[in-house]
């Protein structure tokens, strides 16, 4: 009972809280009671007052921590002995691809984002119905760029960007909070040598009343979680005595607004879920559940006519009602179309494309047509030194003579760039385990920009231009070129579309059906960034095939 003697002695001696601050938690504590007690008392000062809000807070780090960075409210400008600092705002496709490519022997990387992971957006629709696990589609930033969790000068800050002070090379940030028992948010500044804005875009609501309050978007993992919870809640509530027939029909009416790839994929997944799982697991209400897809124009407008007809046929066959209409108003339990039709719903998913976020709009930076941050052909924000912008938040300024970017808002996550050969190569590579083919990566525009900019920054850094206000004389090399080579969308039930033409009118391969689905899965399986997630996605798909989808509402 030696340990109890130790503890009794400890709690009798020490009135204030005594555990050693550092580094004993991770090493063996001596077993002799006296030695242990004296060790425990060494770092008392750090806990003498209890709360952080107390006036007796000591800001000066204890001597053994002096090698760690200062924590005085700001991350100041880098100095001679330090590496230049690249600050990346956002952890989406563009920002993460950039961080992956940054040479961390040249730069320190600081990432600011309200989420600590990248979301593999094309697979998000599958998580709503339990085909995939939420964790399979999220890749932690610290795994994408390990230096962020290891290098003393590299950080990930769970914070929102609140503004950019380009004149002083600073970013203003505010921490994220989460409920009543977590610390209040506080503001801090980060000085940058190079700044990369990769803040992404926001879902468009076209100013329609009630969309933000009642509809769910499909852009983050928590959206998918909310859709899943709502769907399962409605399935179960509609089974409870006291639900009228009409209420049951309403609860189980899933409405998707927007016929782009996200809307189509979600509708396809949902109808597949209904056909395969709801029929078995919710037999009492299976005849009430319906999916309606509302689109103002044509569904999948970026695909060719033949593929679009195929998609229409497949979706209709699997029970998705396709409706052409414009939403005028969204109420808690129904939407109103412009022709006056009222559509009661239990679940409303909104995916009508994306536009610049209010933060991007508010930034005092040059803008491209459409309100995005204006960039030149080297992805530099026009006339603002050391600031770059990539991904959905950026667009080419008119002086470049380029289109803002090819159909970025509409199908950003679905845009893929790869030669026809590559598609088949990777399909073979993944499904035939011993194939010796090289992995080809399919990339979308945001990824391409991230990769290009990482190379550009590395080039500047190697030439000694990594510091703030330097590097103007470095040869930047070739400008960024984007070549659209294809689009993909899945329709559920082992069906998908693959469109490998250069443009809507151009020539090339366009496929529909099982082979496309096979390519779609393969393509995405090789793109989920880590092997861990690739493995999880494969396991999830396998389990869903064998056991059906998960229906626990957790």
């Amino acid at each position: 009972m030696a340990w109890f003697r130790t503890l009794t002695r400890m709690s009798a001696t020490a009135k204030s809280w005594p555990p050693p601050l550092l580094p004993s938690p991770l090493r063996t504590v001596p077993t002799a009671p006296v030695a242990s007690a004296s060790l425990l008392l060494t770092s008392l000062r750090n806990f003498s007052t209890g709360t952080a809000a107390s006036p007796a807070v000591e800001d000066r780090p204890p001597p053994h921590l002096s090698q760690s960075p200062t924590h005085c409210g700001d991350l100041g400008p880098t100095e001679g002995g330090e590496k230049p600092r690249v600050v990346v705002l956002g952890s989406g496709w563009a920002g993460c691809r950039l961080m992956k490519g940054i040479d961390t022997s040249i730069y320190d990387v600081v990432c600011v984002s309200p989420r600590n992971h990248m979301v593999f957006t094309p697979l998000l629709a599958s998580t709503c119905v339990g085909t995939l696990e939420f964790r399979s589609v999220a890749e932690p930033v610290g795994r994408i760029q390990p230096a962020i969790s290891r290098e003393p000068g590299s950080y990930f800050f769970l914070s929102n960007c609140k503004g950019i002070d380009a004149k002083n090379h600073r970013v203003i940030c505010e921490t994220v909070t989460d409920g009543p028992n977590t610390p209040d948010p506080w503001k801090f500044n980060i000085s940058y040598d190079k700044l990369v804005i990769a803040l992404g875009a926001e879902a468009l609501t076209f100013g329609i009343h009630g969309v933000k309050e009642h509809a769910i978007f499909l852009r983050e993992v928590h959206h998918a979680q909310e859709i899943r919870r709502r769907l399962l809640l409605n399935l179960m509530l509609s089974d409870v005595p006291g639900t009228t027939e009409q209420e049951k029909s309403r609860l189980l009416h899933c409405v998707v607004v927007g016929g782009g790839p996200t809307g189509v994929e979600f509708s396809g997944e949902l109808s597949d879920f209904i056909m395969r799982d709801v029929r078995q697991r919710h037999a009492h209400v299976k005849d009430y559940i319906r999916v309606t897809l509302i689109e103002a124009n044509e569904i999948l407008s970026s695909f060719d006519d033949r593929l679009r007809r195929y998609a229409t046929r497949q979706l209709t066959k699997s029970g998705v009602h396709l409706v052409r209409g414009i939403v005028k108003d969204v109420e808690p339990d129904k939407i109103v179309l412009d022709n006056g039709t009222e559509v009661p719903y239990g679940l409303l998913v909104w995916s009508t494309g994306v536009g610049p976020s209010s933060l991007v709009k508010s930034l005092d930076l040059p803008k491209a047509p459409g309100g995005r941050i204006g960039i030149d052909e080297w992805l530099r924000v026009a006339n603002v030194p050391d600031v770059y912008a990539i991904g959905d938040c950026s667009g080419f300024v008119e002086s470049t003579g380029k289109p803002v970017l090819p159909a970025l808002a509409q199908v950003s996550a679905k845009q893929t760039i790869a030669s026809n050969l590559e598609f088949f190569a990777l399909a073979l590579q993944f499904w035939l385990p011993h194939s010796q083919l090289v992995i080809f990566w399919i990339e979308q525009v945001a990824e391409r920009q991230g990769k290009y900019l990482a190379g550009l920054l590395n080039r500047i850094g190697k030439a000694g231009g990594g510091r703030a206000n330097s590097g103007a004389e470095v040869d930047l090399g070739d400008p960024f070129v984007y070549k659209h080579l294809g689009s993909m969308a899945t329709l559920g039930r082992y069906k998908a579309l693959v469109d490998l033409r250069q443009s809507k009118e151009g020539k090339g391969i366009s496929l529909a059906g099982f082979l496309s689905w096979f390519i779609w899965r393969s393509a995405y399986l090789t793109r989920v960034i880590s092997w861990r997630n690739r493995f999880y996605v494969a396991v999830n798909w396998l389990t869903t095939m064998v056991f059906g989808r998960d229906i626990s509402r957790i």
Copy 2:
């Protein structure tokens, strides 16, 4: 473009919302526009008014639905043509094991619970730190007893029990709600032929101020999710500029109150997470994170001295501070012990055992000592016909001469019953894939009671006593007997305890170390109910071993 013509015509003709109610969502819709439009108009009435709250609601089901159950607010008494109805309150170990064993050719089963899955509680601690996925420890009720999702008279109701009207053989329930866009809760009654109360227990707070507000329990999946979110938030916030040394130490101080198996297992998992993952993935703050386990008496009091010493040594070695103390008060950022010591914390997990819930206390039923529902040796609630109680909510009435139940509250989820031989048999069976050994199941008292009662009810039903107020003359057979054969607890880092003695002073095998850990994993792996979850747990464990734990905060 045939489908657009169809749709245009449809929306032009029909001002009210037209999709067919049944069963076209799941079959091919005719492609000819006219046929389609006329089909679409058939069930207009059901949507003519839009909202459920509207006065024009039609409660009468349409003719084609007349074979489905009535939905008039209550589930009335069963009639001649129907099977007798067993109503089960709760979806924990006891209730789920009972439902699994009920013969659904004799009875209809109705389960009432606020969650649609059983939680595999012994593995919950592992999900907090990402060793296991949340979904791996949840088993949907509809998979445990498939009749619930298929049979016309069997149901799962996502609702809370609000009271029992034993005189009229009725249960009063209220639906669960979830946020502003979900239906308001409503009440309904369910008539039963046999009622099984398996409502479980509630975490004990001993009336200590602030526990409910600031501490997190570890009994449900959402508790584990909250712990995980808080832990990752604190890890990230403590890295942000502006955090003082003291605040950092507070944020990263994880305090566990209660040294029973749950508290010990969670502490072990947490220190393992710190040693294996935080060091690598949160290198900047790794020296600040600490785990303290506070217990008023002895840790793992149900295990023998040798095992307890072993556990103490292992926990201390892996950095867990063991403190003997009594908590007097819980504030948002610190706890106060009875000797006046203040312990600042960033995460507080409370696991000081369980007691009867307020609902159980409020029920007008005979009680056993300690406030549980009083049962006799056949698990019948004393003097209340057709009502049974099992699991943590029940205890033997004094007249039975039995102890309330063996250390149920303290180690309920950890109690295991199996012969020594069985342990090794199943260990071998699981880890040696081609072993031909039979699977033996390890069961705890709640499971044992569920299994026993399923057999008893089946016996009564077969003898024709399944209806309300009948079956009094049926021979009930042997009473329920519980034989305690062992306890298990894991300590993290491939270490565990297995105690196979009959009582604390008795003889038997007690093991500690790697072999125990191996047995612990094996035992739990074979107990996670479905093959799907067994497969997932194995995959999760494998992935954690290879890739480390997941750190995305989703």
